[in-house]
C-alpha cells in the first residue's frame, strides 16, 4: 500500500539545506490574527487517531494538529529541528540523549516529562497493536536520566533516529489517557500535546478540533479551531472549496490545476515532494528475472513526456528514488536510462524476445491511474513490449502483488518517500523486504551499502553510501521510477500563511484567517 501511505519520516539532513529549490509558496500578507474556523476538505477518513495503532499515511494531516512530535522538520528541507525535545545528541554511537522541553502539558493536564516520554517509547515498542515497532527496532532500552531527560541505548548505531522522532514514533500521547482507556489506545479519543485539542470524529464525515489554549508555542495556533470534512471524491472536494464551503484542500490531482486556476475565489500553492510514481518489479520471476528485460523496460519510458501528459507538468521526471533537491541525489545515476526505444528493442532481442514481449502488470482502477497506464502502454509498445494492466483497488492490488499470491510481474503505484532514504532502500531492495515483491536476493554490496548509510552521523559518509546504493539499484534496474509528484493545495483567498512541505503532508503551523 505505498500508493497512499507513508509512515516513517527519516530525516537526518544536517547541512543539507543547500541546493534545495522549492516551488511555489504561499506568503502571508499583513500581520497574522487570531480567530476563525479553518475548514478543510480531507481526502480520506483516518485509520485511527492513535499514532501508534494507525497505519495510513493520510492520517498525519489529522494527527499533526493534535500531537506534537519530539523533533520537527524544516518545511523546505525536512532537516530535523527541536520540537517537544529541546535538544538531542549522540553521546556515543549507541547512546542517544533527548532533553525534554520543560513546562509542556498534555491536553488533559498530564505533565509532559521524561516519564511520559519513556512511557510512549515503551508503548510504541511493545504494545501488540503498535504499528511502529519497526521504527524503533534499533532502540534497546529507554532510561529516565533526569526529570526532563531520556536516554536511549541502541542495539546498533542509527543515524536516522532524529528523523524518525518527527513522525508517528515521536508523537507523544498522554500516558494518563492510555491508562484510562478500556481498549489500551486512544484511537477515538486522542489526547496529545499539540496545537489543537480533539472535539469530535464522525467516521467518514468530519473531524473537529479546537485551539489548545495552553499550547507551548507562543501565539499559536491562530485559528479558533479546524473542521476537517472527509470528501474522498477529489473533484467534489475541489468543488467544495470553489463554492466556499471549505477553505482549503490538499492532495489535489494535477488535472484539477487548470480547472481551479479559472476560479477567481481560489489561490493555489504547490511544491515538490518525495512522492514518486514508480513501477515495482518482481525480479524473482520471468520476464523481469532477466536484467536485460528490466533495462529494456526502463529505456522504453519517456519520463519527460510522462510528466507533461500524465501530471500536467506538476512533477519532476524520476530516474531514481530521490529528487534533484535531495542531498543524496547522485547526478551520474540520472543519466542511466535516457528515453531510447531502439535500445529497448535491442536488449529485448538479446534476451530472446525478438518479436516483442507480453508483460502483465497490475494497477489501480481510478481515473488518474488509468490515464497514466494508457500513456505508459503506448511508450512500451514503441519499445517492443505489449503491456497489459489488470486493475484492482489499492488494498487488493498491493496485497496480490507484494503478498503471497505474487500476481503479475509489476505494479504501477507510488512510493511515498522518506527524506532520509535509508528506510526507503531497506524496505524495497533487501532480500525478504515486503516491497521486494519476489523476496529475491540483491547483490551483497547493495545490502552492505544500505547498512552503512545508517551507521554514521557524518553527512559526507552517508552521501557516499547512498550514491552506491542508488547506482546499484538502478544498474540492476530493480524498479522503474517515473516521476516525483508536486503537492497541490487549493485555498480560499482568506487563508494566509500556508506553506507546502517536502514531505507532502500538510501542517498548518502558521496558517491564519483573514476576516
Amino acid at each position: 500500500m505505498t500508493g497512499t501511505t507513508r509512515r516513517e519520516l527519516m530525516a537526518l539532513m544536517t547541512g543539507a539545506a543547500a541546493g534545495v529549490a522549492l516551488g511555489g509558496k504561499a506568503i502571508a500578507q499583513g500581520a497574522p490574527k487570531r480567530g476563525g474556523i479553518l475548514r478543510i476538505s480531507a481526502p480520506a477518513n483516518p485509520s485511527s487517531l492513535d499514532p501508534a495503532t494507525g497505519g495510513a499515511g493520510s492520517d498525519h494531516a489529522f494527527l499533526f494538529t493534535m500531537y506534537d512530535t519530539l523533533t520537527e522538520w524544516e518545511f523546505e528541507t525536512l532537516k530535523p529541528k527541536p520540537g517537544l525535545a529541546e535538544s538531542w545528541k549522540f553521546s556515543d554511537a549507541t547512546t542517544f540523549v533527548l532533553n525534554i522541553r520543560p513546562g509542556v502539558t498534555f491536553h488533559d493536564g498530564t505533565p509532559l516529562d521524561a516519564e511520559a516520554v519513556k512511557f510512549n517509547f515503551e508503548r510504541n515498542k511493545s504494545d501488540t497493536k503498535s504499528n511502529i515497532k519497526a521504527d524503533l527496532a534499533s532502540v534497546d532500552t529507554v532510561e529516565v536520566t533526569g526529570p526532563m531527560q531520556v536516554t536511549l541505548k541502541l542495539k546498533n548505531p542509527d543515524a536516522a533516529l532524529p528523523g524518525i522522532l518527527s513522525d508517528r514514533a515521536g508523537m507523544m500521547v498522554s500516558p494518563a489517557a492510555i491508562k484510562a482507556s478500556s481498549t489500551g489506545n486512544v484511537a477515538r479519543t486522542p489526547v496529545g500535546a499539540g496545537a489543537y485539542t480533539f472535539v469530535s470524529w464522525a467516521d467518514g464525515e468530519k473531524i473537529v478540533v479546537k485551539r489548545n489554549e495552553k499550547y507551548w508555542k507562543p501565539n499559536r495556533p491562530y485559528p479558533d479551531g479546524i473542521e476537517m470534512s472527509i470528501i474522498p471524491e477529489l473533484a467534489t472536494g475541489a468543488r467544495s472549496v470553489t463554492a466556499g464551503q471549505n477553505d482549503l484542500m490538499y492532495q489535489l490531482p494535477p488535472r484539477q490545476k487548470a480547472i481551479l486556476e479559472r476560479a477567481s475565489s481560489i489561490k493555489l500553492a504547490n511544491g515538490p515532494t518525495l512522492y514518486v510514481f514508480q513501477i515495482f518489479l518482481n525480479w524473482a520471476k520471468p520476464p523481469f528475472d532477466d536484467i536485460r528485460v528490466r533495462k529494456a523496460f526502463n529505456f522504453a519510458i519517456d519520463r519527460e513526456a510522462f510528466v507533461k501528459a500524465a501530471l500536467a507538468g506538476l512533477a519532476e521526471p524520476a530516474y531514481m528514488n530521490l529528487p534533484k533537491a535531495h542531498w543524496a541525489y547522485d547526478k551520474s545515476v540520472a543519466g542511466l536510462y535516457p528515453h531510447n526505444p531502439d535500445m529497448s528493442k535491442k536488449l529485448l532481442a538479446e534476451a530472446g524476445h525478438k518479436d516483442g514481449l507480453a508483460i502483465d502488470l497490475v494497477g489501480y482502477p481510478d481515473q488518474d491511474s488509468v490515464q497514466r497506464q494508457e500513456i505508459l502502454i503506448e511508450m512500451f509498445r514503441k519499445g517492443g513490449m505489449n503491456v497489459t494492466f489488470k486493475n484492482a483497488p489499492i488494498a487488493e492490488a498491493s496485497a496480490a502483488f507484494f503478498g503471497a499470491e505474487k500476481r503479475a510481474s509489476g505494479l504501477l503505484a507510488a512510493w511515498t518517500g522518506r527524506p532520509d532514504p535509508s528506510l526507503t532502500y531497506s524496505l524495497m531492495y533487501t532480500k525478504d523486504a515486503y516491497f521486494n515483491a519476489g523476496r529475491a536476493p540483491v547483490p551483497a554490496e547493495l545490502e552492505a551499502a544500505i547498512k552503512e548509510s545508517r551507521a554514521s552521523e557524518d553527512i559526507e559518509l552517508r552521501r557516499k553510501a547512498f550514491a552506491t546504493v542508488q547506482r546499484l539499484v538502478m544498474e540492476n534496474a530493480f524498479v522503474a521510477p517515473l516521476a516525483f509528484q508536486f503537492e497541490l493545495v487549493a485555498m480560499n483567498k482568506k487563508v494566509q500563511g500556508y506553506k507546502p512541505n517536502l514531505l507532502g503532508k500538510p501542517k498548518y503551523d502558521d496558517v491564519w484567517l483573514e476576516s
Binding site: M1, T2, T5, R6, R7, E8, N45, P46, S47, S48, G54, G55, A56, G57, T128, K129, N131, I132, A134, T183, A187, R188, W201, A202, D203, G204, E205, K206, S229, I230, I231, P232, E233, T236, G237, R239, S240, T242, A243, Q245, A392, P393, I394, A395, E396, A397, S398, A399, A400, G403, A404, E405, T416, L423, L427, Y434, F435
Partner: protein, 318 residues
C-alpha cells in the same frame, strides 16, 4: 376465503424476512472474503512485513475459519450489536444512525419530486395517446431514463451551485438540527435521482391508464355522460393506484441504490458512502451492517406497499 388481519400479514412477512436477511448478509460476507486483499494489510500499516500482517490477522480474529467469523458476527447482530469498524473502532450502529437520515432525506425528496412531476405527465399523456403532448412526454421520459444520474448531478452542481450559487455543492446537514438547511443540501442530489423516477412514473402510469381507459366499464362511464376529467381523476387513477404503489416501492429501492454514486458526487456522508468505504477497506462489519439495514428497509418498503395495495384493492389479500 377468510380475511386475514393486517397484524398477521405483517407478522408473516417479517418472518419471511429472516431467511432473506440471513442469505443477503451471508452472501455479502462471502463475497468480501472471496475478494483478494484483506483489512489486515491496512491495519498493519505501511512497511508491514508478512509476519506482522499474520500477527494482525490473529489479533483481530481474521485468521479464524470463514464460517466462524460469520457466525460470531451473526450472533452479535442477533443480539442487536452490529459490532464496530475494525479500522477505526466506531460502532457500526452509530455510523448507520448518522448516515441513514442523510440518505433517507435524499430519497424522500427524490420520490416527492418524481411523483409531483411524473403523475401529471403520465395523465396528460394518456388523455390523447400518440398526440403531440404524449410525444413530448415520451421524449422527456426517454431522456429521464437515459441520462445517468451522476452526470446530471455534476451539471446541476456546475450550473446551480458554482455559477448561480443558489444551493450548496457538497455535504449534508442534520434535518433534526436545521430542517431548512438539510433540505437545501439534499435538493440537488434529490433532483439528480428524481429524473429517472419521474420518467418511470410517467411511462408506467400512462401505460396502466391507457389500459383502464380502454376497458368496457370506462365506456359505460362515458355512455353515462361523465366528463373525461371525472373519469380520469376519479375512476382512472383509483384503478391504477395498485400499479402506482408497486412502482413507488420499486423506485424507492432503486433510488436507495442510486445514492451510492450520487453521495460520492455530493460528498454526502450517507449509507452509500458508508458501504463504499467499508467495501474498499474490506472493513466487513461496516458492509455487513449497511447490508443488514438496507435489507430491512427494502423489506419494510415492500411490506408497506403491499398493505397499501391491499387497502385499495381487496382482491389482493387473498
Amino acid at each position: 376465503m377468510a380475511r386475514r388481519s393486517p397484524a398477521r400479514v405483517i407478522g408473516g412477512r417479517l418472518l419471511q424476512a429472516l431467511p432473506v436477511i440471513l442469505l443477503a448478509t451471508f452472501m455479502v460476507f462471502a463475497l468480501l472474503k472471496l475478494v483478494p486483499g484483506d483489512i489486515a494489510v491496512t491495519l498493519a500499516g505501511d512497511n508491514a512485513t508478512d509476519a506482522r500482517i499474520t500477527e494482525i490477522r490473529k489479533l483481530y480474529g481474521l485468521d479464524r475459519p470463514f464460517l466462524v467469523q460469520y457466525g460470531s458476527w451473526l450472533t452479535k447482530a442477533a443480539q442487536g450489536d452490529l459490532s464496530q469498524s475494525l479500522l477505526t473502532g466506531e460502532k457500526v450502529a452509530n455510523s448507520i444512525g448518522r448516515a441513514f437520515p442523510n440518505t433517507l432525506l435524499i430519497v424522500v425528496i427524490a420520490l416527492i419530486l418524481a411523483l409531483v412531476t411524473g403523475i401529471p405527465m403520465g395523465v396528460v399523456a394518456a388523455i390523447k395517446p400518440n398526440g403531440w403532448v404524449d410525444k413530448i412526454v415520451s421524449a422527456i421520459a426517454s431522456l429521464g431514463v437515459a441520462i445517468p444520474g451522476f452526470w446530471l448531478a455534476m451539471i446541476l452542481v456546475a450550473e446551480i451551485s458554482l455559477k448561480l450559487n443558489w444551493l450548496p455543492a457538497t455535504g449534508a446537514k442534520s434535518f433534526a438540527v436545521s430542517p431548512w438547511e438539510a433540505i437545501r443540501h439534499a435538493l440537488l442530489p434529490g433532483i439528480a435521482i428524481a429524473a429517472y423516477g419521474m420518467a418511470e412514473v410517467a411511462r408506467q402510469l400512462r401505460g396502466s391508464l391507457l389500459e383502464v381507459l380502454s376497458s368496457q366499464y370506462v365506456r359505460t362511464l362515458h355512455a353515462k355522460g361523465l366528463s373525461m376529467n371525472r373519469i380520469l381523476w376519479q375512476h382512472g387513477l383509483k384503478n391504477v393506484a395498485v400499479n402506482l404503489f408497486t412502482i413507488i416501492s420499486v423506485l424507492v429501492n432503486r433510488m436507495l441504490a442510486a445514492t451510492v454514486v450520487i453521495e460520492a458526487v455530493f460528498a454526502i456522508p450517507g449509507m452509500g458512502s458508508l458501504i463504499v468505504r467499508g467495501a474498499i477497506q474490506r472493513d466487513f462489519p461496516i458492509v455487513q451492517g449497511v447490508v443488514f439495514a438496507m435489507v430491512i428497509v427494502v423489506i419494510l418498503v415492500n411490506l408497506i406497499a403491499d398493505l397499501l395495495c391491499a387497502a385499495v384493492d381487496p382482491r389482493i389479500e387473498q
